[in-house]
C-alpha cells in the first residue's frame, strides 16, 4: 500500500513538474533514457558473464589485491557498480568466492565507479555525444535481432551506451535551458548544514533512481550548467555513494548469509567513507585543489574537480578500511549467522543465484547433490546400514554381518521429511531460472531435474526392496537369507563405488568410470540367475521365495541404473565438450554384454554353502 502511494506521489510531482516546466521534462527524460541505457548495458554484460567471468573470478579471489583490482577494472569497464555487486553476491551465494574476496571486489567497485564521473566530466560534456549515440542505437538494435547470444549481448551493450549518451545529452540540454528561466543556486545552502542537507538529497535521489551513476551524471550536468554550487555538488556525490548501498541491500535480501554479510560490508564501507568525507570535507577539498593543479585542471573546471573529489574520497575509504578487512570479516561473521536449516531445506537455492544463468545452473547442481546426500542416507538406512560404514574401507561382508543391530528406517517418512520438499524446491527454482536462459543452458538445467527424478526413483525402489529385506533377514532358510544379504552387499558396493567416482583422479573420467558399475550390475544379474536356477532345481528355496528374489534383484538393478544415470549427469565436473566426448566413448548395452562375455566369472555369495550370517 505504501509502495503504491509513493508511486502515485512521484507520478503526481513529476506530472506537475512537466506541466509547469518543459525544461524539467527534458531533464527528467534524460534521466529516464540514461536509466534505460544502464539497464540495457547491464543486460548486455550479463550475456558475457558465463564461463569467462567465472574463470576470471576464480583466479582473482586468492589475493586481496587481485579481488580489489577485479572490482576496479570490472566496474570501470561495465560502468555499473550495482551489476558488480549483484554478480558478487550471486557468486558468493553459490559458494564460488569467499567473503573476504567479495569484500575486496566491493571495495574495488567503489573506486571503479568513480571512472564514470571522469568520463562524463572529461568527454560527455565537451563532445557532442548525441551524434555518437544515434548510430550506436541503430547498430545495437539490429544486433538485438540476431540469434547468437554474444551478438545479442553486444547489441544490448551498444544500445545501452547509445541511450546513456542520449540521456546525458538531454540532461545537459535541459539544464542549459533551465538556467535561462530559473536559478537553482538561489536554493544553495552553505556550511555544514548544506553539506548534510545535500548529502541527504543525493542519497534519496540515488535510492529512487537505483543508480549512483545516474545521480552523479545529473550532478555533473547541473554543475556544468551552474545550477548547483560546487560545495553542494560534493555533498550530493557523497550522498550518491551512500544511496548506492541500497541496491546491494536489496540484492542481498534473497541471498544467503554470506550475501547479507557482503551487503553489510558495503554499507559499513560507504557509511565510514561518507562520514570521513563529511567530517574532513574542507581538508579534502584543499587536497582536491592541489591534485587538480598537478593534473593541470583549470581552477574553475568544477566538473573535473568533482570527478577528482569522487576518486579521492573513495580512495581514502579504501586506504582506511583495507587494513581492517580481516576484522570486518570476523565482525560480520559474529553479527550475521546462517539460518538453521534442516536436511530438507535448500542450501544453495537463493534468489540472488537466479540473477546470473551460470550461477543458477551451478546452484541447481549443488542442490541436486545435496538431494543425493539425503538419498544416500535413506538408501543405506533402507538396507539397514550406516552411511559412514558404506563410505569407509571396511569389508562390506563384515558391515552387513554386523548390521543386524541397526534399526531399520521408515523410508516413507524419511522421503517426506528429507526429499519431497527439497526436490520440489529444485523444480520450482529451475522453472523460475530457465526463463532467461539459452536452449543449451535450459537443457543443462533439465538434465539436473532428470537426475533429481532418478534419485527419487531410486528411493522408491529401495522402499519396495526393504519389505522383503526385512522379512528374509530373519528367515530360517539360510540360502534365501544369504541371497538377500548378497543384494544388500551389491547395492552397498554401488553406493561405495559412486562415492569413489565422485572424487575422480586426473587419470580417470567420471562418466567412463560408471561403465564399470554398469558392467558389475550385469555381472551380478547373470550370476544371480545362474544361482537361482540351481536353488530351484535343488529345492533349496521355494517358488515364492524365488519370485521374491527375482523381483527384488530387479529392484536392485533399477536402483543401480537410476543412480548411475544420475551420476553421469551430476558427478562430472568436466567442461561440456569433454562430457560429450566421454558420452561418445561410453559403452552401449550390447558392447557391455560383449565385454561381459570376455571377462565374467560367475560368483557365489560368500560362504553360501554353510556359513550363517
Amino acid at each position: 500500500m505504501i509502495h503504491k502511494l509513493l508511486l502515485a506521489s512521484i507520478f503526481s510531482i513529476l506530472a506537475y513538474g512537466f506541466w509547469i516546466s518543459p525544461d524539467f521534462k527534458e531533464i527528467a527524460t534524460g534521466v529516464a533514457i540514461f536509466l534505460f541505457g544502464m539497464m540495457s548495458l547491464e543486460k548486455g554484460f550479463k550475456a558475457f558473464t558465463g564461463g569467462l567471468l567465472e574463470k576470471i573470478l576464480s583466479k582473482t579471489t586468492n589475493r586481496l589485491w587481485k579481488s580489489l583490482s577485479f572490482g576496479v577494472i570490472s566496474t570501470s569497464l561495465m560502468q555499473s557498480s550495482s551489476l558488480v555487486s549483484i554478480i558478487t553476491i550471486s557468486f558468493l551465494s553459490a559458494g564460488l568466492i569467499s567473503l573476504a574476496a567479495g569484500i575486496g571486489i566491493i571495495f574495488g567497485a567503489n573506486l571503479g565507479t568513480t571512472t564514470g564521473a571522469w568520463l562524463v566530466a572529461a568527454f560527455g560534456l565537451k563532445v557532442n555525444i548525441a551524434a555518437y549515440a544515434m548510430p550506436m542505437v541503430v547498430f545495437g538494435v539490429i544486433l538485438l535481432f540476431q540469434k547468437s547470444k554474444e551478438l545479442k549481448g553486444i547489441g544490448y551493450i551498444l544500445t545501452g551506451l547509445g541511450f546513456l549518451f542520449l540521456g546525458i545529452h538531454y540532461m545537459k540540454e535541459g539544464f542549459d535551458a533551465f538556467k535561462d528561466n530559473i536559478d537553482l543556486t538561489a536554493y544553495a545552502v552553505s556550511g555544514y548544514s548544506g553539506i548534510l542537507l545535500f548529502t541527504l538529497v543525493g542519497m534519496i535521489a540515488t535510492v529512487v533512481m537505483q543508480s549512483s551513476h545516474a545521480t552523479l551524471v545529473l550532478i555533473i550536468t547541473a554543475l556544468a550548467a551552474q545550477q548547483i554550487t560546487y560545495e553542494n555538488a560534493l555533498a550530493l556525490a557523497i550522498g550518491a555513494n551512500l544511496g548506492t548501498t541500497i541496491t546491494a541491500i536489496i540484492g542481498a535480501v534473497g541471498a544467503n548469509v554470506d550475501g547479507r554479510r557482503l551487503a553489510a560490508a558495503h554499507l559499513i564501507f560507504n557509511a565510514i567513507t561518507a562520514s570521513v568525507a563529511i567530517a574532513f570535507i574542507f581538508q579534502i577539498t584543499k587536497a582536491v585543489d592541489s591534485i587538480s593543479d598537478w593534473l593541470s585542471i583549470a581552477q574553475d573546471n568544477y566538473t573535473m574537480k568533482l570527478a577528482v573529489f569522487h576518486s579521492v574520497f573513495n580512495s581514502i575509504g579504501i586506504i582506511l578500511m583495507l587494513p581492517f578487512i580481516g576484522h570486518l570479516e570476523r565482525f560480520l561473521k559474529r553479527l550475521l549467522h546462517p539460518r538453521k536449516r534442516t536436511a530438507a531445506q535448500p542450501k544453495f537455492l537463493h534468489r540472488a543465484a537466479i540473477e546470473l544463468s551460470d550461477t543458477a545452473i551451478r546452484a541447481v547442481r549443488m542442490e541436486t547433490l545435496h538431494l543425493y546426500e539425503n538419498a544416500f542416507n535413506i538408501i543405506t538406512g533402507g538396507l539397514r546400514l550406516r552411511p559412514e560404514d558404506v563410505r569407509s574401507d571396511l569389508s562390506l561382508d563384515q558391515v552387513v554381518k554386523s548390521s543386524r543391530r541397526t534399526t531399520p528406517i521408515n523410508i516413507d517418512r524419511q522421503y517426506n521429511e528429507r526429499i519431497k520438499s527439497l526436490y520440489s524446491a529444485i523444480i520450482e527454482f529451475i522453472s523460475e531460472a530457465r526463463t532467461e536462459m539459452t536452449n543449451q543452458q535450459a537443457d543443462e538445467l533439465f538434465s539436473y531435474r532428470a537426475a533429481g527424478r532418478d534419485i527419487v526413483e531410486a528411493i522408491k525402489d529401495t522402499k519396495h526392496l526393504q519389505k522383503n529385506l526385512e522379512h528374509y533377514a530373519v528367515s530360517s532358510n539360510s540360502v534365501i537369507r544369504k541371497e538377500y544379504n548378497q543384494l544388500r552387499i551389491e547395492l552397498a558396493e554401488v553406493l561405495r563405488e559412486l562415492e569413489l567416482v565422485r572424487t575422480p583422479d586426473a587419470e580417470t573420467s567420471t562418466i567412463l568410470s560408471l561403465d564399470e558399475l554398469k558392467l558389475k550390475m550385469k555381472e551380478n544379474d547373470v550370476a544371480l540367475n545362474q544361482r537361482l536356477e540351481s536353488f530351484i532345481r535343488d529345492k533349496r528355496i521355494n517358488s515364492e521365495q524365488a519370485t521374491s528374489l527375482m523381483n527384488d534383484s530387479n529392484y536392485v538393478y533399477s536402483v543401480t541404473k537410476n543412480l548411475v544415470k544420475m551420476a553421469e549427469v551430476l558427478f562430472s565436473e568436466e567442461p561440456d565438450d569433454i562430457k560429450e566426448a566421454e558420452q561418445m566413448l561410453s559403452l552401449e548395452d550390447h558392447e557391455l554384454n560383449d565385454l561381459l562375455q570376455q571377462t565374467s566369472t560367475p560368483r557365489e555369495p560368500d560362504g553360501n554353502q554353510g556359513d550363517k550370517l
Binding site: 586426473a506 587419470e507 580417470t508 566426448a581 566421454e582 561418445m584 566413448l585 561410453s586 559403452l587 571377462t599
Partner: protein
Amino acid sequence: MKLKELLGKADVLFNTDDLSRKKQKKCIKKLLRRLSKHEKSLHQKLQAEENTEIIEKIEKKLALTHAHREKGLKIIQEMNEEKQKIRKKQINE
C-alpha cells in the same frame, strides 16, 4: 579465383558442423591420452599385485579401459574417413 570456389571455401571455413567435429575430435584425443595413461598405470599395478581377487578386479578394469580406447580410436577413424569423403566430394564439385 572463381566466385563458386570462394563461396565453397567460405562455407568450409564457417561451417559450424565442421568446427564442432574438430572440437569433438580434439576432446576425444584428449580422453584417449588419458585412457592410455590409465591403462599403463593399471598394467604396472597388475604386475606388482599378488592377491588374485585384486588381480581379477584390475584385469576387468583393464578390459574396460581397453574397450573405451578401442571405441575412441574407431570414432576418430570414422571422423577422418568422413572428412576425406567430404573433401573428395568438394573437389569433384
